[in-house]
């Protein structure tokens, strides 16, 4: 059991695994940046879906990729969307 714990700890601290994790994160951003159409495409689709439920200020819609600190240490990539709502549509109301 002790050996297993030691093994697991060693596995995550191997420098090649650190390299791999760091690369995976940085490539998420690099790949997104290759095509300027990437975020635009997501943006269009999000507007389409959200508009079924609410009216939004599509001029002020902000969508970007960012790093968020992960529990413990390190970072994870996140797609952050800030979508100002103008008015809720009158559907799906809780008629409780």
């Amino acid at each position: 059991m002790f050996d297993l714990l030691k093994f697991l700890r060693k596995e995550s601290s191997l420098s090649k695994n650190i390299a791999k994790e760091r690369l995976k994160l940085v490539l998420i951003h690099d790949r997104a940046n290759i095509s300027p159409h990437f975020l635009d495409a997501i943006r269009e689709d999000i507007i389409k879906v959200i508009s079924n439920y609410m009216e939004i200020e599509d001029g002020e819609l902000d969508i970007h990729l960012t790093n968020l600190p992960k529990e413990g240490d390190g970072f994870t990539s996140a797609l952050v969307a800030n979508i100002p709502i103008r008015r809720m549509k009158n559907i799906g109301k809780n008629k409780g």
Binding site: A19, K20, L23, L27
Partner: protein, 269 residues
């Protein structure tokens, strides 16, 4: 009609020129007619790696500008039947050539050679665009380090954006002692991240430095692992099915015992 293949990497110093020289030489040794084009205008090096630096009269820029014919600029390597070099200009810069001119040149050369190999400059600017313009396919060279793998990924993206058919990967200068310790990304790690097919793996080998010192391709050196690896890569390009040799044998219990008792057996590769 020959194949036009560009050897590229994004990052400098990972071994594009060495890879171009050795794959080219190996293809010639297998009886193919091969021309190597140095597309690194202003920073030419393929000539010195090949040991042909004293034979240059005309260069790539002279050819596209019509100063001479391609035939006059192309140097025949007297050591290897069927191997030729079109050197880059040293006193000009990347803007001396356009992608359209490279396309035309590659089109002309593919009619006379089985393989046209283009040594691409580092970077993603004009020189890269020129080098890939006339190519049918690309070999992406990387080393198992974060900076080189990141740049390779960027290059793969740019190749896709230029509608280049699926590029293949050469992992250069891998050190199996470090891989075994877990201090270097292994073959699977690298392929996993980049997501393209593997063409070959070249172990780090001091003999590369020695052979480059002399201007002789390492595929000529009998007992060189790197030379063997480049030769295998050339044969895979020719369509042969050669397994990637297993450089990665895990250290077995017996190896550990041997090491413990100071009897470190033969290095495996």
């Amino acid at each position: 009609m020959g194949n036009v293949i560009v050897i590229t990497s994004g990052k400098g110093g990972v071994g594009k020129t060495t890879t171009t020289a050795n794959i080219g030489t190996a293809l010639a040794l297998h009886g193919k007619r091969v021309v190597l084009i140095d597309a690194d205008i202003g920073l030419r090096n393929l000539d010195v790696v090949m040991g042909l630096e004293n034979r240059i009269v005309y260069d790539l820029v002279d050819v596209v500008e019509g100063v001479c014919r391609a035939k006059q600029a192309i140097i025949r390597d007297k050591r290897f039947e069927g191997l030729f070099l079109l050197p880059a200009a040293q006193t000009r810069d990347k803007s001396a050539v356009s992608p359209e001119q490279m396309q035309q040149l590659c089109q002309d050369l593919r009619e006379q050679f089985d393989y046209v190999l283009i040594d691409c400059p580092a970077g993603i600017e004009q020189g890269f665009k020129n080098a890939i313009a006339g190519a049918d396919r690309a070999i992406v060279v990387t080393v198992p380090e974060v900076s080189a793998v990141r740049d390779a990924d960027r290059i793969i993206g740019l190749l896709a954006a230029n509608e280049m058919a699926e590029p293949v990967l050469v992992i250069n200068r891998i050190r199996m002692d470090m891989v075994r310790r877990g201090d270097m990304m292994n073959i699977d790690d690298t392929i996993d991240i980049l997501g393209i097919d593997l063409l070959g793996v070249v172990p780090d080998d001091e003999k590369i430095v020695v052979s480059t010192n002399k201007g002789e391709p390492v595929v000529m050196v009998q007992d060189s692992l790197a030379g063997q690896a480049f030769s295998n890569i050339a044969r895979r390009l020719m369509g042969e099915d050669i397994p990637v040799f297993n450089l990665e044998t895990e250290e077995t219990f017996i190896d550990k015992l041997r090491k413990f008792f100071g009897k470190n057996g033969k290095k495996r590769a």
